[in-house]
């Protein structure tokens, strides 16, 4: 049923070993809490269906001993029944069970207990057999129904657990602070979650039940066989330990070999990805041939690793099968010898029915052993996956609302940084003793070289991070004393790396304020000068955007983001000016849209345009986490300090030699810009 290479597929999965198996399993089990009635039913059903599986071979054995053997005997013994009495020393095997033996279920009522008497007619035997087979059919139907129900209930409960876990994880991802995302790449988080969920899903809907019922079946069958005939059972089952050892060895080897194949296929995929994504450069440099040869090598390594790995899995099934046949051979040979020699061997006797029952039993060991070995790997990676998921759920967000946090009243717009220190990690210092005040309606431009801490400043205002020391206050309220949701709702942000969702343009703008009417959305778009191009899109406002807003040009994406912020109508605006060049017309539209947006709001701009800086009420020059200069553009330029230098380097680089590093006394050259260092060196 597992078709092609089912086991090897599972063996090929990532198998990282979990560290706290018991705790994780316990916690995973607790997820099933709400579904305990279903699980209880499953438990009952598994017991029931296992019982059926143990019972049916016994019934078949009974059919042989109670009806078929006596009937066959009676054919040649008819008329001479009396002489063929047990007293004649007849081997017990062929008469099947003695009259006193109550294990012939369908004879007792009709014939006063025990097996059919030798005088019974052919039709009596057939009738008895019929009743037995009828019971068998009922059991088969019951067993199938129970199996189906188990499968369904487990899938049902498992899927519910999975959904709950997914939603829990998703909510938690929202709660986590940006510092978490600064340390963990989105792509990595994404693939970890999806992979882990995948292994958990497989485990909780199939593997768990399969392993549990497989183990149960093996134990139950073994116990039944031992109860029926201990010596014969021990001989028949002698192969089972061999099966287990073989399976364990091959699976271990295969697991290791498949780990190597993952590395190999990873290399192939990396080559593919690079070769395709970089095809233009490959062709530009005429590297097609060399690339193809490289790929060929990675590809060959992958082929060989796979062939090597498969030699183990390819050997597992045939080995188990051969062992299975060995078990059959041992069971039949020993059964036959015991039958022929009577009690002579081991002081035990068997019937033909028992031999046939045992024959069926030993064949049933094969499947669960193979399954368990495969599922074990799966279970292991699922537990490891669950461990990671729980670890994620246990990660505490570094920014949380205080228990007594109050709602943020409508913001007037006075923003104050009071001796703020900030750091992303313990040892590093991103902002150092930063203080400034932005009065309502003012525009603050923040300039400085890479890594100076500009982004950090704007991240602190909506409290994406918490300060290490000092305070950020809005209208005299510390941002840590109000609820983050209330605070952020009144702050608008336009990032330079515009992020749009794969949704309609309308909904993307409406993201700023979900309850806005279509008309309000349009008004915001008009304000952002986006209306014009949106109208020209194939479906206007209802045009579906691709992943991350693909389908729009970079400039258009920026306009949509501005409209989004405009719709939110925030009291404070934070703007990370885009530097990527767009064509002149779009550039001007963006500029006008931003101007409209900045009007009458307290605004913080990471400035990349001279015009923005010129119009700002305040320019903060940031170097290495400190404000080295502040003031208006003209003042700062006149001061011939750090700003002047920055200006000379960055804005008028083409004009000539850099100016002398300034020393106006206030911010001496002791804090030179990296640019200045370079210029002097």
């Amino acid at each position: 049923m597992h078709g092609m290479g089912g086991p090897r597929h599972i063996l090929a999965q990532e198998t990282s070993k979990p560290t706290e198996v018991r705790a994780t399993l316990g916690r995973l089990a607790r997820q099933f809490g709400p579904f305990w009635p279903a699980l209880l039913v499953v438990l009952g059903l598994v017991l029931g269906s296992t019982y059926v599986q143990v019972l049916t071979p016994e019934l078949i054995g009974q059919s042989v001993d109670c009806y078929l053997t006596p009937a066959a005997m009676s054919r040649f013994a008819s008329g001479a029944a009396a002489s063929l009495a047990p007293a004649a020393g007849q081997p017990q095997g062929m008469t099947g069970r003695s009259a006193a033996d109550s294990s012939c279920w369908f004879s007792s009522s009709a014939f006063g207990g025990g097996a059919l008497p030798a005088t019974a007619s052919t039709s009596d035997f057939v009738a008895g057999l019929g009743r037995l087979v009828l019971l068998l059919i009922v059991l088969y139907i019951l067993g199938s129904a129970m199996n189906g129900l188990v499968f369904y209930l487990m899938a049902w409960a498992g899927q519910h657990v999975l959904r709950d876990l997914r939603v829990k994880v998703f909510r938690h991802l929202h709660r986590l602070s940006l510092s978490y995302y600064a340390e963990n790449e989105a792509g990595a988080v994404m693939s970890r979650i999806t992979n882990d969920m995948d292994t958990i899903q497989q485990a909780i809907s199939f593997v768990l039940v399969n392993v549990a019922s497989g183990v149960l079946l093996i134990i139950w069958i073994a116990a039944t066989m031992l109860r029926m005939n201990t010596a014969y059972a021990l001989i028949s089952m002698s192969v089972v330990p061999l099966m287990i050892v073989t399976t364990a060895w091959f699976s271990g080897q295969a697991r290791r070999a498949f780990r190597r194949t993952r590395v190999a296929i990873g290399a192939v995929n990396a080559d593919l990805q690079e070769g395709i994504a970089g095809v233009r450069e490959v062709q530009a440099f005429g590297r097609e041939g060399a690339n193809i040869e490289n790929f060929r090598q990675a590809n060959a390594a992958n082929r060989d690793a796979n062939i090597r790995a498969v030699s183990f899995t390819a050997a597992l099934a045939p080995s188990l099968e051969a062992l299975g046949y060995l078990a059959i051979a041992i069971t039949t040979i020993m059964g036959g010898v015991l039958l022929l020699r009577g009690q002579a061997l081991f002081g035990t006797a068997v019937s033909l029915g028992l031999v046939i029952t045992f024959l069926q039993y030993v064949q049933r060991f094969n499947m669960p052993i193979q399954q368990i070995s495969v599922m074990w790997t799966n279970l292991q990676s699922a537990v490891a996956g669950a461990e990671r998921i729980f670890g994620l759920l246990d990660t505490q967000p570094s920014v949380q609302d205080r228990p007594d946090a109050q709602a943020m009243p409508p913001i007037v717009g006075r923003v104050e940084f009071d001796r703020v220190y900030a750091a992303y990690k313990q040892e590093e210092r991103v902002l150092c003793d930063v203080s400034f005040v932005a009065e309502p309606g003012q525009t603050v431009a923040i300039v400085g070289p890479t890594g100076a801490g500009k982004t950090t400043i704007i991240n602190l205002i909506p409290r994406f991070y918490d300060v290490v020391a000092g305070a950020v206050r809005i209208d005299s309220l510390d941002v840590r004393d109000v609820t983050a949701a209330d605070l952020r709702r009144q702050i608008g942000i336009v990032l330079q790396d515009t992020f749009l969702f794969s949704d309609t343009v309308l909904n993307n703008i409406r993201f700023g304020r979900p309850e806005a009417t279509d008309e309000e959305v349009r008004a915001a778009a008009r304000l952002a000068h986006a209306d014009e191009f949106i109208q020209r899109l194939p479906d206007g406002y209802n045009t579906m955007l691709g992943e991350r807003g693909s389908g729009l040009s970079q400039g258009q994406r920026q306009l949509v983001a501005i409209a989004r912020a405009a719709l939110a109508n925030p009291s404070i605006l934070i703007l990370d000016e885009a530097t990527s060049s767009v064509d002149t017309r779009t550039e001007r539209q963006i500029q006008r849209a931003l101007d409209a947006l900045l009007e009458d709001r307290t605004s913080f701009v990471i400035a990349h345009r001279l015009s923005t800086i010129r119009n700002a009420d305040q320019v903060l020059v940031l170097v290495d986490g400190e404000i080295v200069e502040r003031g208006r553009h003209d003042e700062l330029l006149a001061r011939r300090g750090a700003y002047h230098e920055l200006y000379m380097k960055q804005f008028r680089r083409e004009e000539g030699s850099p100016a002398q590093p300034g020393g106006d006394g206030r911010e001496p050259a002791a804090l030179p810009l990296p640019v200045a260092q370079h210029a002097r060196s």
């Binding site: 998703f170 097609e288 039949t332």
Partner: protein, 649 residues
């Protein structure tokens, strides 16, 4: 199906392995089919032996009667009694022998089968990769990296599975089915007729199951990817979500999607939980029929115990291949679809290829001429260049200016013949670029893109990308000239630092300098570059600027200009407007005569971006380079490549 047939022909390349696999298959199935036969022999030996024992032990009068009833003579009875143990042990040993043979050949079969299937995957992947590497830019404009990746991974896997293993399985299933049915028939016709109706029923169920679940699985996949899109967007856009306080809406959206997925999964399980038990039930009912009707025959004396067990075993062999065939048939259509997609790529015509009889371009002096070139990306589409003519003399610098979509990158794409013009011609030293061998043409043109893809390997490998045989001295010299030497030495492993997918991440500015070094090492006569450096800080920008001007010295250079200095120093400025050359000349000429130029100069160049704080990161500042005409180009490709490793900060 035709494509699948074509795929199957790949087996011919691995004829010996394939033959061994199939040979092993027949032997192992044969051995497997022998086992019930032997079980029968054992059981019959036992029953006969025991019967003979009891008959021979009985009183003489009864003995004769019983022997008559059994149809034995006294000798036979003795033989049955005394030979029973030997017969049963020899049959048991035979089972073992067949089991070992079965094991060995089954192993050979699946090992060789895997060899074949892996070899076929190897062939397909190689052919695909080679084809993809050589397909022209226009093909890559139309096809996304992700799509092509899937062809070379998932589709190859599906075809491999089917051709390498599915066919073997099918053969095995058919042989097993036919022989087992034959054995059933030979064992007992009446019993065979009883269970016959069950077989097509089981087969139909398996087939129907495959048909039914496949679309359901597809729905699961779609819903799962929808869910993952929401997750992905919320991870990548976490800052936006938080800034606009949209957590509740997004959570509701995610929950709804998760619920939707769950319902679909449960629906699939419902089908599974019905079909599998029913099929097993059918198999069991077949066995029950054998027990009853076979038992009846035993009682009637027309069937032996051994035959009865044999029949039951062969019946089990019948159900197994039925299930397998049902599954394989549903896989076959998938494999056929995959094969079609693979051959679509392998058969795709390459519109930029060497002409028959193309010659090598001799060492270039560097005169590049466009003669009334009209060009559109998709044959019939709106032209992005119209009647463009100009001449660049050896050593000249040509600056290209214009708005997005004006055709700047189309011009630079036509020189190394990444595309062919629709009308007109592009010549180098008077020779039409279409008349020379691509390799010799592109080998003499250096390209520096703003957005550089680094390939897996060391820094040295990447600098020597265009000249793999370059010595370390050459590489270092190039790196020094490109202002890259210093930062390279800062890495612990220096030039041997691994980069690319799995190596050290370089900043945008570092990558750019590697790209410049790479082009320098090539020492080309013709240079194509984008002088924009938007993703780096001021220091780096300055350094890159210096390196670029060094690079351009003495070469015919085409520059998509962002900088005043570039434009000022250019020997020829082409101002493009909607595919036409709106103005051309030197800076001074144009300042005087061209209003468009003056406008662009003022708006695009004067307020050049100052160095900014953006983290040097591949996802940032990806300005279209080859694709300012709105086509999907390198920038998009590398952006999507970088997307997988996008960071939030």
């Amino acid at each position: 199906m035709r494509n699948l047939g074509r795929g199957i022909r790949y087996l011919g390349r691995h004829r010996n392995t394939t033959l061994i696999a199939y040979l092993a298959l027949f032997i192992s199935v044969g051995a497997q089919l022998m086992v019930p036969q032997l079980v029968q022999r054992i059981i019959d030996a036992i029953t006969n032996g025991v019967t003979a024992q009891s008959v021979l032990a009985a009183p003489a009068a009864f003995r004769a009667q019983a022997l008559a009833a059994l149809g034995w003579n006294a000798e036979q009875a003795l033989l049955h009694r005394d030979g029973a143990e030997t017969a049963l042990i020899s049959a048991g040993l035979l089972i073992l022998a067949f089991a070992i043979a079965r094991g060995l050949f089954a192993f050979t079969q699946s090992y060789m089968g895997e060899r074949v299937s892996q070899s076929i995957a190897f062939d397909f992947r190689n052919e695909l990769f080679a084809k993809i590497q050589r397909l022209s830019f226009s093909y890559h404009d139309r096809n996304q990296t992700g799509q092509l990746m899937i062809r070379a991974t998932d589709d190859v896997e599906k075809v491999r599975m089917f051709i390498g293993q599915g066919l073997l399985m099918t053969t095995q299933a058919v042989v097993l089915l036919v022989v087992a049915l034959l054995m059933l028939l030979l064992t007992n016709v009446r019993l065979m007729l009883v269970i016959l109706p069950v077989l097509p029923l089981a087969f139909i169920m398996f087939m129907g199951f495959g048909r039914m679940t496949q679309p359901m699985f597809m729905k699961v996949q779609i819903k799962l990817s929808r869910l993952n899109t929401i997750l992905q967007e919320n991870l990548a856009g976490i800052k936006v979500v938080k800034a606009f306080v949209r957590e509740p809406e997004q959570q509701a959206r995610f929950t709804a999607s998760a619920e939707d997925l769950m319902q679909q999964q449960i629906q699939v399980s419902r089908v599974f939980s019905f079909v599998f038990p029913v099929v097993f039930l059918l198999a069991n009912l077949g066995q029950a029929a054998v027990y009853y009707f076979g038992g009846q025959q035993i009682i009637g004396g027309t069937l032996t115990f051994g035959e009865w067990q044999k029949f039951s075993l062969y019946l089990a062999y019948v159900f197994f291949p039925l299930g397998m065939l049902g599954m394989i048939i549903s896989q076959m259509s998938q494999a056929a679809a995959s094969a079609q997609r693979i051959f679509e790529i392998l058969d795709a015509p390459n519109d930029v290829a060497d002409r028959p009889g193309a010659t090598d371009l001799p060492a270039v002096r560097g005169r590049v001429a466009f003669e009334e070139v009209t060009f559109s990306y998709f044959g019939s589409g709106e032209p992005v260049l119209r009647d463009v003519s100009f001449v660049a003399e050896p050593g000249q610098t040509v600056a290209l200016l214009g708005a997005t979509g004006s055709g700047k990158s189309s011009i630079i794409n036509l020189i190394p013949r990444f595309y062919d013009p629709t009308r007109g011609r592009v010549t180098i030293d008077g020779q039409d670029v279409r008349d020379v061998r691509l390799e010799s043409l592109r080998g003499q043109i250096g390209t520096v893109l703003q957005d550089t893809t680094l390939f897996t390997g060391t820094i040295r490998d990447n600098i020597a990308f265009g000249r793999p045989d370059a010595t370390l001295e050459d590489v270092v010299a190039a790196a020094k000239a490109a202002a890259a030497h210093e930062f390279i030495l800062e890495f612990a492993q220096g030039y041997d630092t691994p980069v690319g997918e799995r190596g050290t991440t370089l900043s945008g500015g570092q990558k750019q300098r590697i790209a410049i070094a790479r082009a320098l090492l090539l020492n080309p006569r013709i240079l194509i570059l984008d002088d924009s450096t938007s993703s780096v800080d001021a220091v780096t920008e300055y350094q890159i600027q210096q390196a670029l001007s060094l690079l351009m010295r003495g070469r015919t250079s085409f520059v998509i200009a962002q900088r005043i200095s570039t434009v000022r120093n250019a020997d020829l400025i082409l101002v493009l407007d909607r595919g036409r050359v709106a103005a051309h000349g030197t800076h001074d000429d144009l300042m005087e005569n061209s209003s468009i130029y003056a406008e662009i100069f003022a708006s695009q160049l004067v307020e050049d971006a100052p160095a900014d704080e953006r983290a040097p990161h591949p996802t940032r500042g990806t300005r279209p380079v080859f694709d300012d005409d709105g086509r999907k180009g390198l920038a998009e490709a590398s952006r999507s490549a970088a997307r997988s490793s996008a960071s939030i900060r």
